[in-house]
Symmetry: C2
Subunit: 335 residues, 2 copies
């Protein structure tokens, strides 16, 4: 079996790590046994800083799946230090609100050197995955640079006095607290899904949408021309996992993104935002949290296959159980 996962960074990485674990634990008669996992990773958070190409979601995947991540902090490398960061700030090439760790900088320098040498983001991603045995394959959603920007609402509303900043500034510097009037991805019209993403979708028996930010992690990928069509082109069932539990986002700040596009912080509202595949939307099925079990009937009435399951990924066991549920749910839809 081949499983394709559409995912963002930290939350997506935990989900994929759980899925990898579920595959590892699968008995020979379990359909998950020996399953191959391809992850299509959001590139909307990527940016240039101090002449270096930074890809936060890809790196979260890489570090989490390789065991190099800092579990305490939730992001970045374990054992990280910040000696270079002080220099970069002293030279004025990085802002105070964005600290690059030393170990992490090694990744950025290597990536940038390969990009500068003419390799595509997909080729670079393939190189970066060779260092550690990940057990999954990671594909940037697109090889084109389509960084997300945020339109900041002006004092008198977006129409008057609005300005635009890079998503990373909004997210990291302002902690998403500046009211956003919307998101833009300059150049997205010229982007196409990466070959690795297309191949993974073409070959997939099951497609999962990770419990990542619906706007700036999943939404940015769906906005790439041809991506939604590629996801829904084959008969493989598509099941999403809600990033909202009991009316709040699992990892915070998604609320601000949803507010900017007028979607309620509600597991049902997000499923409807993604839309039903048969109506040119994304989903066949949708997993909500047990806390949101009351939403299942309404979703089913609207045509979504829906189920309430334990959604908190507290540890590897719960993440593996959730991923296993998602696959089983999807396989049930396709049979």
């Amino acid at each position: 079996m081949r499983i394709a996962v559409i995912a963002g960074g930290v939350g997506g990485a935990r989900f994929v790590r759980g899925l990898r674990e579920a595959v590892r634990r699968a008995s020979d008669i379990d359909p998950l046994a020996g399953a191959a996992i391809d992850v299509i990773v959001n590139t909307g958070d990527d940016w240039w800083l101090a002449g270096l190409r930074i890809t936060p979601d890809f790196d979260s995947m890489l570090y989490t799946l390789s065991g190099q991540n800092d579990e305490q902090r939730g992001w970045g490398r374990v054992g990280e230090s910040e000696r270079v960061a002080g220099e970069l700030q002293a030279w004025g090439v990085t802002p105070e609100w964005f600290t690059l760790g030393d170990l992490d900088l090694g990744t950025h320098i290597a990536r940038t050197s390969w990009l500068r040498a003419g390799e595509t983001p997909s080729q670079v991603a393939a190189r970066l995955q060779q260092r550690w045995e990940l057990g999954v394959r990671l594909h940037p959603a697109t090889d084109q640079e389509v960084d997300t920007h945020v339109i900041i609402a002006g004092d008198r509303g977006a129409a008057a006095g609005s300005r635009e900043i890079h998503f990373q500034e909004w997210w990291t510097r302002y902690r998403a607290a500046l009211p956003a009037a919307g998101f833009v991805q300059h150049g997205v019209d010229r982007a196409v899904p990466s070959e690795g993403a297309l191949d993974a979708l073409l070959d997939a028996d099951v497609i999962l949408v990770a419990p990542s930010n619906p706007v700036v992690s999943i939404g940015t990928q769906l906005s790439i021309p041809g991506m939604l069509e590629a996801i829904t082109a084959e008969p493989a069932p598509i099941v999403g996992v809600s990033p909202i539990i009991g009316g709040a986002s699992v990892r915070g700040m998604a609320e601000a993104c949803l507010a900017a596009i007028g979607v309620a912080v509600d597991a049902g509202a997000i499923a409807r935002h993604y839309g039903l595949r048969r109506d040119a939307g994304l989903l066949d099925g949708w997993l909500v949290a047990e806390e949101d079990a009351a939403l299942v009937d309404g979703l089913e009435a609207d045509g979504f296959a829906a189920r309430a399951v334990p959604l908190w990924m507290r540890d590897l066991d719960t993440a593996a159980a959730l991923a296993s549920e998602a696959v089983a749910f999807a396989l049930g839809l396709s049979s």
Copy 2:
């Protein structure tokens, strides 16, 4: 008074620091009082590594004159660490024999980001000098990239089986122990002296050639079309300081460079290699070490103004005294 110094890295930096100190100590009636110092810095050691532009001689100047240098080690930043270097080597983008310090990497990243943004090496050099009060102005010899390569003599001599490596590999990896058949600077024909260098030479009352490597520090600068002409165009006296004391180079390894171009490791031979200004060469005067005082008469007979002085720069006092001697000697030539 304005003093222009043509210099390489570590040894040149010590000389310039001594000159700055001599100016600081000068009494009001000393001609050195209030003298402005412009340093034309060798760019022949520069190279690209892991997508970063590294300029060893400029950085030696910057760190030495700012007090940021590691006096014990003789190069690099004080309090340096090497956390990123291990990552870069693990990613395979830097060789094991060239370690980039963390603090130093900050400089390289900043420099490269400004270069990538379209600034010239001179503009970048100006930026880098703003962080600390140097008391001198540093100018890259040229804004064109003319990195030095070394022709390695083959087993049967240079003609058969010779190969070429970057100077940094020869110098740092092989410690200049691979027999060199010569040096090449690809693209030097298209290079010109930087504007800062030309302005400094035009305005100079005294021009000093630091006791730097005559081949790969001073020689590379003289090979830039128009540089020798610019140095010798004005009447300002030109005095060089020998990098050889008692038949050995002060900082080692210059011997291998001299051997490659067929010049003896001898203070007199180097003066004759530089040549007399009146014969389309470089020098009016030449300072040799007290240990080499026996060479003075021969040099004088050949037309060089020559003097034997204490040449070891053991500390700031001796470096200041040497620089002061060089300026006084030059002023004596012009009067």
